[in-house]
């Protein structure tokens, strides 16, 4: 059973109990009041009749010897019978006059309710004329019962009408109040089926709208996470695709040339060519696997934090790269202040060597590569061919190459900058690239430690 239905039923039961209980006690009270009022009237009437009879009886006795009190009693009896009042007179246990057909006993000086022939009477019995007679007075009060029944009827009808009205109103109010809950429920059902695009209405300021608000913000968070996860999965899939491609290319060469050597009647010249390709492509495979392992290692391990002088590191890098730069006709310049950062000297040296190596490769003959550092910041700039914005976006992706054929010809694996980024990340360093086509590239590595 739904919450609102439970609330409805319990509220309704409670209300009906209270309402009907209240009405019933009100009816009882009203009835009691009218009984008391009637009894008072009846007592007064009985008193009046008794006093009046006593006066007439004294008058009668003083009038003469043969005056009959019985006649007086009959006169009284007949007179009051028409008014719904019945009388009886006794003397020493003997009935002198009685309007009653049945005999019954009534206590003296008390007020008694009795039913005769289905009609209600109030009986009052008392001694009369200084104890000479016993006087029984009865008045028909069936009006009281009638009043009682009509009272019950009116009250019951009212209670029924109010209850019905309340039942209907309560039903719609509770149903309406539970609408936001229903909406939440249908939203969760949609989510259960995988539709994360739902939002819940946030109307009003009650608990439901608060709940809807937190529900929506939760959904928003989940959506963000899902998008991030999907992007991540896509990236990984792309990496796998790229890797398959990158591995297949050298594999094709190795397999092909080996097969060629095995099957063809080769000239000495072609034998050497084939063997050279097999060696160079194997080296390329080895390089790819090495870098992938390095990257995985760096990702999986925290780097050792020792103080490293950036300036010295850059000068060493320049020295190591000098022979290659000279061969390419590229000038290497360093302008390094002492700047101590925390990190792993070997990894950082790998990072700067890779960056500087790329810079040298980007330069034509006569180009210049500058390595500078100051205040936890290393800058490597060249005046080489530069990159487009589109290229800049992708350069740190594994296997991305700005110039595929040239990179391959130089034996590049397309993983250098991906590794650099990983090293920078593991040092909490920020690596940023800015470049203009034809003017050169500037790479800034900023350390935060």
């Amino acid at each position: 059973m739904r919450f609102w239905q439970k609330t409805y039923i319990f509220t309704l039961i409670l209300f009906l109990l209270c309402l009907n209980g209240g009405i019933m006690s009100l009816a009882a009270y009203t009835y009691r009041q009218s009984v008391t009022a009637t009894e008072a009237t009846v007592t007064a009437e009985q008193y009046y009749i008794a006093r009046s009879f006593e006066r007439d009886h004294i008058d009668l006795l003083s009038a003469g010897e043969n005056a009959s009190p019985t006649l007086l009693m009959e006169t009284y009896g007949n007179h009051y019978k028409g008014k719904g009042i019945f009388l009886s007179f006794e003397k020493d246990g003997k009935t002198l006059y009685s309007d009653f057909t049945d005999s019954f006993s009534v206590k003296d000086d008390t007020l008694t309710h009795k039913k005769l022939d289905g009609k209600r009477y109030v009986f009052i019995s008392s001694s009369l004329c200084d104890g000479r007679y016993r006087f029984v007075f009865a008045k028909n009060v069936e009006q009281l019962d009638k009043e009682f029944y009509s009272l019950i009827a009116v009250y019951s009808l009212t209670a029924l009408a109010v209850s019905a009205f309340l039942a209907v109103c309560l039903f719609f109010i509770l149903k309406r109040l539970s609408v936001p809950l229903d909406k939440l429920r249908s939203a969760t059902q949609k989510i259960e089926k995988g539709d994360f695009s739902v939002t819940v209405e946030e109307k009003g300021r009650d608990e439901f709208s608060l709940l809807a608000k937190s529900f929506n913000s939760m959904l928003h968070k989940i959506n963000e996470q899902m998008v991030a996860l999907e992007a991540d999965a896509e990236k990984k899939q792309m990496l796998v695709d790229n890797m398959a491609h990158e591995l297949r290319t050298p594999l094709t060469s190795i397999q092909g040339y080996a097969e060629y050597l095995e099957k063809a009647a080769v000239t000495e010249e072609n034998r050497i060519l084939a063997a050279k390709y097999i060696v160079s492509e194997s080296v390329r495979l080895k390089k790819i696997s090495d870098i992938l392992l390095d990257t995985a290692y760096i990702r999986g391990n925290t780097v050792t934090q020792t103080p490293v002088d950036l300036g010295k590191l850059l000068k060493d890098t320049a020295d190591r790269l000098q022979p290659k730069a000279q061969k390419c006709g590229v000038e290497l310049l360093t302008a390094c202040d002492e700047s101590i950062v925390m990190g792993d000297a070997t990894l950082l040296s790998m990072l700067f060597y890779n960056l500087a190596d790329n810079a040298v490769k980007a330069c034509n003959e006569g180009g210049t590569v500058k390595l500078t550092c100051a205040d936890n910041k290393a800058v490597i700039s060249d005046n080489g061919k530069g990159m487009t914005e589109e290229q800049l976006l992708h350069i740190t992706e594994p296997f991305y190459r700005t110039d595929r054929s040239r990179s391959r010809a130089e034996g590049g694996a397309g993983l250098g900058l991906a590794l650099c980024k990983q090293i920078a990340l593991s040092h909490n360093a920020d690596i940023s690239f800015s470049s203009r086509m034809g003017e050169g590239t500037e790479i800034t590595v900023t350390f935060t430690t």
Binding site: H245, R248, L251, T252, S253, Y260, K263, E281, S405, R408
Partner: protein
């Protein structure tokens, strides 16, 4: 034989394809990027183009559009069904996935060329002429009678000439299924071919490998 355009940016693979196709008698032209390939197709006439899909400059799909009625074979590292279908829909006649075997490459090139009738279906060397359509062999103008399997063996050797074929491979091609362990059958037929066509100098036994027809 056929004139074939090879478009592949990976120099080693481009050379590999060229070396092998030249072995079986084709003439090859090489292009290392898409734009060069487009220029070559605009100026020259080829019997077949072998295309890498991912190329600097114009892609393999761009080039196939410019080829018009020249048959094309895609060579790519992506072997997924989706990529395969995309290549075939773009108009490629066949599809080779890297890494590939030389014999597979030669067989596919041969199949496409035969299908498009770009090569005459006969082969001549020394004083021997082989007519593949009529399944006849002539030596010095005189027909030499060969048994069907002998002819099939000769055809396999000619189509993969200058390449060593293992006994297993020959069994597979000629007898159409693997004769487990019965490679003597191949040796017997080879001996007969050598004798009937006097091929002792041409049909060589390659040490630990198989047989090679050197032309």
């Amino acid at each position: 034989m056929a004139k074939i355009l090879i478009v592949e940016d990976e120099k080693s693979i481009n050379n590999l394809i060229k070396l092998n196709l030249e072995l079986v008698g084709h003439t090859c032209l090489q292009a290392f990027d898409g734009n060069t390939a487009l220029e070559l197709t605009a100026n020259g006439r080829f019997d077949l183009a072998i295309l890498d899909v991912m190329l600097p400059g114009a892609s393999g799909f761009d080039i196939i559009g410019a080829l018009k009625d020249i048959p094309a074979i895609f060579v790519t590292a992506k072997g997924g069904l989706e990529d395969r279908l995309r290549g075939l829909r773009a108009g490629a006649d066949d599809y080779i996935v890297k890494p590939f075997e030389i014999l597979e490459l030669v067989a596919r090139v041969d199949a496409v060329l035969r299908r498009t009738k770009a090569v005459s279906d006969s082969f001549e060397f020394d004083d021997i002429r082989v007519d593949f359509d009529c399944k006849r062999v002539y030596k010095s103008g005189e027909e030499i009678m060969l048994k069907p399997k002998e002819f099939d063996l000769l055809e396999a050797l000619i189509r993969n000439r200058n390449l060593a074929l293992t006994r297993e491979k020959l069994l597979n091609i000629v007898w159409d299924f693997a004769y487990e362990g019965d490679s003597r059958t191949v040796d017997v037929h080879i001996q007969k071919l050598r004798k009937k066509l006097s091929l002792e100098d041409r049909l060589k036994t390659v040490y630990k490998t198989g047989y090679r027809l050197e032309v």
